[in-house]
């Protein structure tokens, strides 16, 4: 029992199970979380070919209570996406913006179809949830904000994930990407969303914290399912071209720069009415100086976040925001924010990796095609 993170960090309801499964625990966003079990590459590959169970209970589940129409309108003040038109039982990717148009956090927002008291539920990044909740409290009028730290969140991701869950409840197979249903799984009431952050088909399951271990054991008993840690979650989302807060997204990066215009629906882009709208609308009209792109190093050496990019004239070209080895691509992959005039696919840039120069090529995202059940 040598886990120095145990006393100084929060734990999730699956902590003991992680230890039992041989998980390696690391401090992450104030939690002791498994970075890997058998190995990042094996877990990554298993997720792409079968189904992996990830504990994402460190994320913040927040209920937004009140009259549905009112809560939807209030949320449109802080989120630049179409929220009030979201249909019950549907989920959407969005982000909180600051007055400079920067991103406070990215999140998933669900319009629920069962609990009439909480018409909307948000899932927030662990490292940002307290900042987010303060921001919501400061900006939403007459909306009750309830942080549900009594709940656990389990992601089951991979091409076999839905088949596994349908064995417990066939209703799960009826869902499409971004649907949310409340169903019973092995006698436990769960909210199941057909979503995730690996680029694969799969679900995220909200369940009572004290029932989470039972559900995890039932799922892990299925022959297709193995546990996976945060290491594989990171390589999977990177190959899928998905943003990670603190890397691609910060309070100094706008959704236009992060190439997330698709998540701001037309009505919102045109009407504005959210924090930072003036800046974001000006960027939509006039363009931006830098933009998020995919980067493929030409060599074998991974190019990590923080590497400075330069162009053919040795002028500053931008910075790498995420980078590592992509097991499915079997090569290093990265994303970065680069000068807009250098963002064309095929542009060659130099990355400074601890004093060595590595060539990278601007590449279309995602690196691995997303396989959502649309």
């Amino acid at each position: 029992m040598s886990d120095p993170t145990r006393d100084s960090f929060h734990t999730t309801p699956l902590y003991d199970l992680h230890l039992e499964l041989g998980g390696r625990l690391v401090p992450f966003a104030g939690y002791s979380m498994p970075v890997q079990y058998e190995g990042v590459v094996a877990e990554h590959n298993h997720t792409r070919s079968a189904a992996s169970l990830f504990d994402v209970s460190h994320m913040g589940i927040v209920e937004l209570r009140g009259d549905a129409e009112h809560v939807g309108s209030e949320l449109e003040k802080v989120l630049p996406s179409a929220i009030k038109t979201l249909k019950p039982g549907r989920q959407r990717y969005s982000f909180l913006t600051n007055a400079r148009g920067g991103v406070i956090d990215d999140l998933m927002i669900t319009r629920t179809n069962v609990d009439p008291g909480a018409p909307y539920v948000a899932v927030l990044n662990a490292s940002r949830k307290h900042v987010d909740i303060d921001h919501l409290r400061a900006n939403l009028e007459s909306v009750e904000i309830v942080y549900r730290d009594d709940l656990a969140l389990i992601a089951l991701q991979g091409p076999r994930a839905v088949e596994v869950l349908a064995r417990l409840n066939p209703a799960v197979a009826e869902t499409k990407f971004m649907d949310v249903v409340v169903v019973e799984l092995d006698g436990l009431e769960c909210a199941v969303s057909r979503s995730g952050y690996t680029g694969e088909d799969g679900c995220e399951i909200t369940v009572a914290g004290d029932e989470a271990e039972h559900l995890a054991r039932v799922l892990l008993a299925m022959p297709e399912v193995r546990p996976a840690g945060l290491g594989a979650r990171d390589t999977l989302r990177l190959e899928a071209g998905l943003c990670l807060y603190g890397h691609e997204l910060t309070e100094d990066v706008t959704p236009v720069e992060a190439d997330l215009v698709w998540a701001m629906q037309k009505r919102r882009r045109e009407e504005g009415g959210f924090i930072g709208a003036d800046i974001i609308q000006a960027q939509l009209a006039n363009g931006v100086g830098r933009v998020r792109v995919g980067l493929r190093p030409t060599g074998r050496r991974p190019v990590r976040d923080g590497s400075i990019l330069t162009d053919a004239d040795a002028e500053s070209a931008g910075i790498v925001t995420s980078g590592g080895f992509g097991p499915t691509i079997d090569a290093p992959v990265a994303m970065g924010l680069v000068r807009s005039d250098l963002a064309e696919i095929g542009t060659t840039l130099d990355a400074d990796v601890r004093g060595r120069t590595e060539q990278v090529i601007v590449t279309e995202l995602p690196f691995v095609q997303q396989r959502y059940a649309r």
């Binding site: 029992m1 040598s2 886990d3 120095p4 993170t5 230890l19 041989g22 998980g23 390696r24 625990l25 690391v26 401090p27 992450f28 966003a29 970075v35 890997q36 190995g39 990042v40 590459v41 094996a42 490292s127 945060l230 290491g231 990171d234 390589t235 603190g246 074998r300 050496r301 991974p302 990590r304 976040d305 923080g306 590592g324 080895f325 290093p332 601890r354």
Partner: protein, 152 residues
């Protein structure tokens, strides 16, 4: 060597081996060990030392995805960093356990860096150092000493 720069996510995270892991580590008797978790296998003449990383080290690093090999002919001083091993989680310097000249490198690691995980004491060797016959070995450990070192 050991995770000298760990960057996965914003927070520097030192790996915590799962309980009981260390005791399962393979520490063969036919090599010597350094405090930086390298193994050293001398040839019969005692002038050539083959070097790699230990089972404990490869396990702590996780999946190795890149090995930056030194050039042959390079002269290295004991404790000098002469190579890098990069895993999915971290990059670690490899320090010369002895002074000498690099006379051979395992270039198969360029295309198959995972060999370091699969066969750390065999096919996953990193390089061969030519050393003086009276090279200082006083800092090196036996298998039993190294096993104790990693368990401590």
């Amino acid at each position: 060597m050991f995770p000298s720069r760990v960057w996965l996510w914003q927070m520097a995270a030192l790996l915590v081996p799962a309980r009981g892991n260390v005791k399962g580590m393979n520490t063969p008797d036919d090599v010597r060990y350094s405090r930086d978790h390298e193994w050293i296998r001398f040839d019969a003449g005692g002038t050539h030392a083959r070097i790699g990383i230990t089972d404990y080290a490869q396990d702590a690093l996780g999946d190795v995805v890149f090995v930056d090999l030194p050039e042959t002919g390079r002269e290295v001083e004991v404790n000098e960093s002469f190579a890098e091993v990069e895993s999915t989680k971290s990059v670690s310097d490899i320090y010369a356990p002895l002074s000498g000249v690099i006379v051979e490198v395992n270039s198969t690691l360029d295309d198959a860096p995972e060999t370091l995980n699969e066969d750390p004491y065999g096919e996953g060797w990193i390089c061969v150092l030519e050393v003086a016959a009276d090279v200082d070995q006083s800092e090196l450990m036996s298998a039993a000493e190294y096993a104790e070192f990693t368990e401590g």
